[in-house]
């Protein structure tokens, strides 16, 4: 019979909480840690000593405070030494990065991804980028794990990419493939790009402190990372947030998933390029060219952008009515669509949304920008460290 958590469990919990605090908030004085964590001073001192001995944090004198009294020591995460590898597999490119504890991108590589490249083919490319970064590692650097952000539906249990309609992947074991290529015994965690970007913006971006957030990520398709009540909404198998396949038009355009009238057939890359009369073009650059043309007065591009903006507001109103978020973040190409067609997006949202749900919703663009996917992927890897700091470090 369990009577309560053991001393060890409490200690592990406290170590994790302290490390998480400096990981998310950066250098913090012991005095502040004492206040925010609600532990007494000697406990904070002992925990810090343990983490410092494990090489996860350092302690140092603060800058001059200009106040009387002995200044409290500052606890800093070992950002240069402790790191995770982060990968982002997008429709048109592959990215690999080394992200330090504390969330700073220390090193990065970017590769073009031909559309149709499979996981087995992508893994060696990413591994090559990692080998390059590994050659430039500073002395004593420790890798605590790897995270992957991928455009596709990811099975929560084992990181299998079940279906990536936009990448053309079906049942691709990207995590295993990458693990095999890297040849190191660090675990690889896989997540959907919108989910991990939401995670990153929630931890250290524009949504810090918000507990109900929708991160809408767009490229060819559209997906959402949803945070409800401060937790990531993953669904039973990990596949939730496929808002791009919400059907908005009964006899609409055929979608890559096989259905007709999915939301992404009205606001995704194909829809915008088709409406702008540029069906031959592809990719993010082609989309940005449409926004640019609209800004310069190209009437057809303007109509395409306005129409897509109206549809964006249409689906957004549904999401806002269902989830009642306090913030919606537009990432990927949705950022550019929102900023280029905000008048249409908001007007449609305001007419279709329920007044009570609209009251507190804030529409924002990402603070971390395109790095959100990489930082979020790294957060997946850091989660293990934060759960049990002394075991991993």
């Amino acid at each position: 019979m369990r009577v309560g958590p053991s001393q060890d469990e409490i200690r592990r919990q406290n170590l994790g909480a302290l490390l998480r605090h400096v990981h998310v908030h950066g250098a913090t004085t012991r005095a502040e840690l004492t206040n925010t964590l609600g532990l007494n001073r000697s406990t904070i001192g002992a925990l810090t000593a343990d983490l410092a001995a494990a090489g996860l944090v350092t302690e140092g004198a603060p800058k001059e405070t200009g106040r009387a009294g002995r200044p409290s020591l500052v606890v800093r995460p070992e950002s240069e030494r402790i790191f995770a590898y982060a990968y982002s597999i997008e429709v048109d490119r592959l990215r690999a990065a080394r992200v330090g504890l504390g969330g700073a991108v220390l090193d990065r590589r970017e590769l073009d991804r031909p559309r149709g490249l499979t996981a087995a083919e992508a893994a060696p490319l990413l591994a090559g980028a990692v080998k390059e970064m590994r050659n430039a590692l500073p002395e004593g650097a420790v890798c605590v794990g790897a995270g992957v952000a991928v455009c596709g539906m990811v099975r929560r249990d084992d990181g299998l990419v079940r279906l990536g309609p936009t990448t053309g992947w079906v049942d691709e074991p990207i995590g295993t493939a990458l693990g095999a290529e890297l040849g190191v015994d660090v675990p690889v965690t896989v997540g959907n790009v919108a989910d991990v970007a939401a995670f990153a913006e929630h931890a250290r971006g524009v949504a810090a402190g918000c507990d109900n957030v929708i991160y809408l990520y767009g490229d060819v398709g559209v997906g959402a990372g949803i945070i409800a009540g401060g937790r990531r909404l993953t669904g039973h198998g990990g596949y939730s947030g496929e808002v791009g396949h919400m059907v908005v038009a009964r006899d609409g355009v055929r979608c890559e998933c096989g259905n007709r009238g999915c939301w992404e057939t009205e606001i995704g890359e194909h829809a915008l390029l088709r409406a702008a009369g540029r069906s031959d073009a592809r990719g993010r650059e082609a989309m940005l060219a449409v926004f640019d043309a609209a800004g310069r007065g190209d009437a057809r591009a303007q109509t395409a952008v306005r129409q897509a903006g109206d549809w964006l507001g249409f689906g957004l109103a549904n999401l806002v009515n269902i989830f009642n978020p306090e913030m919606v973040i537009f990432g990927g190409t949705m950022r550019d669509l929102y900023l280029a067609a905000a008048a249409q997006v908001r007007s449609r949202l305001n007419s279709n949304g329920l007044p009570a749900c609209l009251e507190h919703v804030r529409l924002r663009t990402p603070k971390l920008g395109e790095d959100a996917a990489l930082i979020g992927a790294a957060e997946l890897a850091f989660e293990r460290l934060l759960a049990d700091p002394l075991d991993v470090g």
């Binding site: 905000a342 008048a343 908001r346 007007s347």
Partner: protein, 271 residues
């Protein structure tokens, strides 16, 4: 989203000779929010801003700043309250670098020489606080910056002085699409950092992209100030061009000659 406005104007009148430019204007700006000030050419937007910043004295009306009645008689008093204005032409010196521009006329000194390290550090901290990543070196001459970067420097200059209310006059005019997006994000970030922001713009996209409230001026009268969640694009355009839209704006019978009292000028509801 604060309930009490940082700046509240009531009953502002302003005439230039026989021409009455502002007529019983009310405007509220809230900390943490972007208030968009919209109106046609000649509606009185720029005059209103010049009254707030102390360039033009007003004929009548009261200013309440942070709950206290104040009078703003010159730009120095406005700056003293923490009101900064970024004008359309930016007022930057091309032949000076970013730090010099940000501290122009208000340089920090240590003894008899300029305290360059402190100024450089403050400038760097301000830009970092706004998550500005597009500027490579603080010692770059402004002449070498793009339009969007110049706008960024002008805005950073305005927030450097612990300002509390920043007024931006058409910050995205004459910018390309990508740079407009960056400046809009910057405007939003100012408010998210706790400042009250007044954004003057002709561009409905910019207004809807970042604002929390929209205040519409029509022929010198404030015809409506509503929350951005309560209004559509078409309604704002009607307010700008006709002074009313449905239940919003000027009362129907007096709208045409502009003599009527503005209806629903301070509360936010749409009937």
């Amino acid at each position: 989203m604060s309930a009490t406005p940082l700046l509240e104007l009531r009953g502002i009148d302003k005439s230039f000779g026989p021409v009455q430019v502002l007529r019983n204007v009310a405007l509220s700006a809230y900390p943490g929010e972007v208030t968009a000030l919209v109106g046609d050419n000649g509606a009185g937007k720029s005059t209103l801003v010049k009254c707030i910043s102390g360039i033009h004295p007003t004929d009548a009306g009261e200013f309440v700043f942070d709950g206290r009645p104040v009078s703003i008689n010159n730009p120095r008093e406005a700056a003293g309250l923490g009101i900064e204005v970024v004008y359309q032409d930016l007022a930057l010196c091309d032949n000076l670098d970013i730090v010099q521009n940000m501290f122009l006329g208000r340089e920090k000194r240590s003894g008899i020489v300029l305290d360059e390290p402190t100024m450089e550090q403050m400038a760097a901290e301000t830009l970092a606080g706004l998550s500005v990543r597009t500027v490579k070196s603080l010692r770059q001459h402004v002449s070498s910056l793009s339009g969007g970067q110049r706008q960024t420097v002008a805005i950073a200059k305005a927030v450097l002085w612990n300002s509390r209310l920043v007024i931006l006059d058409e910050p995205t005019a004459a910018l390309g699409v990508a740079q407009t997006a960056q400046v809009l994000e910057l405007v939003r970030r100012l408010a998210d950092n706790g400042l009250a922001v007044v954004l003057i713009s002709h561009n409905m996209n910019d207004v809807f992209a970042v604002s929390d409230r929209i205040a519409a001026l029509y022929l010198g009268q404030m015809v409506a100030q509503v929350r951005t969640t309560d209004i559509t694009h078409a309604q704002v355009v009607e307010l700008i061009t006709a002074g009313r839209s449905g239940g919003l704006g000027l009362a129907a019978d007096t709208g045409a000659n502009g003599n009527g009292a503005p209806a629903d000028s301070t509360t936010g509801g749409v009937s």
